[in-house]
């Protein structure tokens, strides 16, 4: 599914968009977004609602998500060193992404979101939030957590399991990632 223009505008991810700033600001305030990004850009990959929501969570924590479309891991070679990259992909994309990072980048966190369960693996310290959905979707909660991990200085491998709620339609298997080149 492609993101609609409305969805992109909501998250401030439509490059070159001429969205009325006042409308965006009003919506942002309503959704608890920071006034302006304070942490800089983060590349966001994926092509469905989960990506939109992940971007929302990142934006709420002061990051500036830049929507890049479906993940093409080979395209990451063109990004500058230090660039942060996040999003959703499939099994093939994850295999390709992680294998390309050997000696070239850092895996900060990986998420496997399956029926009834989230499995999060962090290499930047423990995962703090259990992807609570009180403040919206689990994908937005994941975005907030990834936003925190992107700034964390902790080390070590930490694996956490959280319960995933929702109906069958929302329980499709999804794979998320947060990496730095």
């Amino acid at each position: 599914m492609n993101l609609t223009r409305r969805q992109l505008l909501k998250n401030g991810m439509l490059v070159g968009a001429s969205a009325p700033l006042s409308l965006g600001a009003a919506w942002a305030a309503e959704r608890g977004l920071a006034d302006a990004p304070v942490h800089g850009p983060i590349r966001l990959y994926g092509s469905d609602r989960s990506t939109t929501e992940l971007g929302l969570g990142l934006r709420q924590q002061g990051w500036e998500p830049r929507y890049e479309g479906r993940l093409d891991p080979l395209a990451l070679n063109a990004l500058p060193a230090g660039a942060l990259v996040t999003g959703f992909t499939d099994e093939a994309g994850l295999v390709l992404l992680t294998s390309l990072l050997a000696g070239r980048g850092r895996i900060l966190a990986l998420g496997r979101h399956e029926a009834g369960q989230h499995r999060l693996l962090s290499h930047r310290g423990p995962v703090a939030a259990p992807l609570a959905e009180e403040r919206g979707s689990w994908q937005a909660a994941l975005g907030r957590e990834y936003a925190r991990l992107a700034l964390a200085n902790d080390a070590g491998r930490h694996a956490e399991y959280f319960r995933r709620s929702g109906g069958a339609a929302e329980n499709a298997s999804e794979l998320s990632f947060l990496v730095q080149l």
Binding site: L74, E91, V95, G103, E114, A155, H158, A159
Partner: protein
Amino acid sequence: MSTTQRILPKGVSETDFDAALSRFREIIGAGSVLTESDQLAPYTKIMMAGDQSDYIPSAALLPTTTEQVQEIVRACNEYKVPIWTISTGKNLGYGSAAPGATGQVMLDLHRMNRILNVDPEVCTALLEPGVTYQQLYDYIKENDLKLWLDPPAPSAIAGPVGNTLDRGVGYTPYGEHFMFQCGMEVVLANGEVIRTGMGGIENSSSWQVFKWGYGPYIDGLFTQSNYGIVTKMGLWLMPEPPAYRPFLIQYQDPEDIEEIVDVLRPLRIAQIIPNAVVIVHTLWDAGTHVMRRDYYDGTDSIPREAIERIKADEGIGEWNVYAALYGTPEQIEVNWKIVEQAFGASGKAKIMYGEEAEKRGGGFEYRSALMKGDMNLQEFGLYNWRGGGGSMWFAPVSQAKGSETRDQTELAQQILGKYGFDYVAEYIVGWRDMHHVIDLLYNRQDPEETQRAHDCFAELIDEFAKRGYGLYRTNTEFMEQVAGTFGDPLREVHRTLKNALDPNGILSPGKSGIRS
């Protein structure tokens, strides 16, 4: 579950390891010595049915020159630090970029990526281990050279040196990669450098054209082994033919594999069909772009009924033969008639090329690209077939005889079925041999299924060996077991060579089951 404790090489004290790391930083610079968890995480990605905690490196080193590799090896000898060498680290399903055992230091050669020479007259190349197929492909295009490569399926990201050293295969007439290797530069465990073949002669112009040199031919000792670190390798490249015709032959019945191989064998041996032909089963052909759950949701083997639905929906056969003809247009026309006559005799085959083949389902487009050495990543789609990130290649060798092929197919299907896995397989046809390549796909996130996959793979090795079939290559979890199937006398020779060349056992301990 959290892991924050420091991982050390086996038998190495923290003090000695710190001293070794300091020495490594002096040799290659601090930025090329990786020790942080998030930097090492890509080196822990395994797809095989092993415990991930058994494959975590203590550090990774990124040298850029042969001299640095020499110094690293000397330091490793001093501190008894074991290193596990990778070239581009894309041996997916065979151990990926992970070490052979936890605590080993990764020696990652991907930054040694110079194309040292490409000679369009004698069609040779001299490469460093970090050169990727895509890089060499781009070089050839940019310089308008009429040369073709022979990449394996993960072509763009893998490299010719690493693939050849693991005796990988491709799909053009140069498909048996080690056959087309010529000359190596090798850093030995004592830090000395040797050049094989004609490379020992100063200023030799024939290092990349004459394989044998003088005296014992030793290049094979450095493939699938841990006797040295290959830092340069010569390859033969295929001259671009004036014409090329990829084609597809489909058969619909499971037992047709016997006829296919018996028809194909004389055509391959006589070089009527010169390339490494593949005979692809339905589930591989569909699995590169179809999701299993769209046809079957069970956790046991996919049933025959679902396979038949896939064949019908996708327009593919039970067996799908991808091959090609190369040469002048006149040569191709002559050979095409021979191929049509041979495969058309029984009336079972549907033979296609051009638009007709393109319109059929399956992998004709990407197979056509691979058979002319173009870059392609389509087969990564297999990882989506079952999901869960588990993949192990089971790859026994057989004679190119229909009876053996049928025997292997039935045995594999029986064992895979017993453990609830699918037969996702293809045969790659060499001159007289076949590589029966089966992708054991499973859900690595499920511990019970992972254990089943492990047991299944172990049984496949044993049962195939009982019938006289050995593997040509395997993943790091099963190297010991596979080495055992080749017998103790051979293992003793391997061990004797290891003790002579690497007495401290610092180079890739356990590779192919070889230890000092």
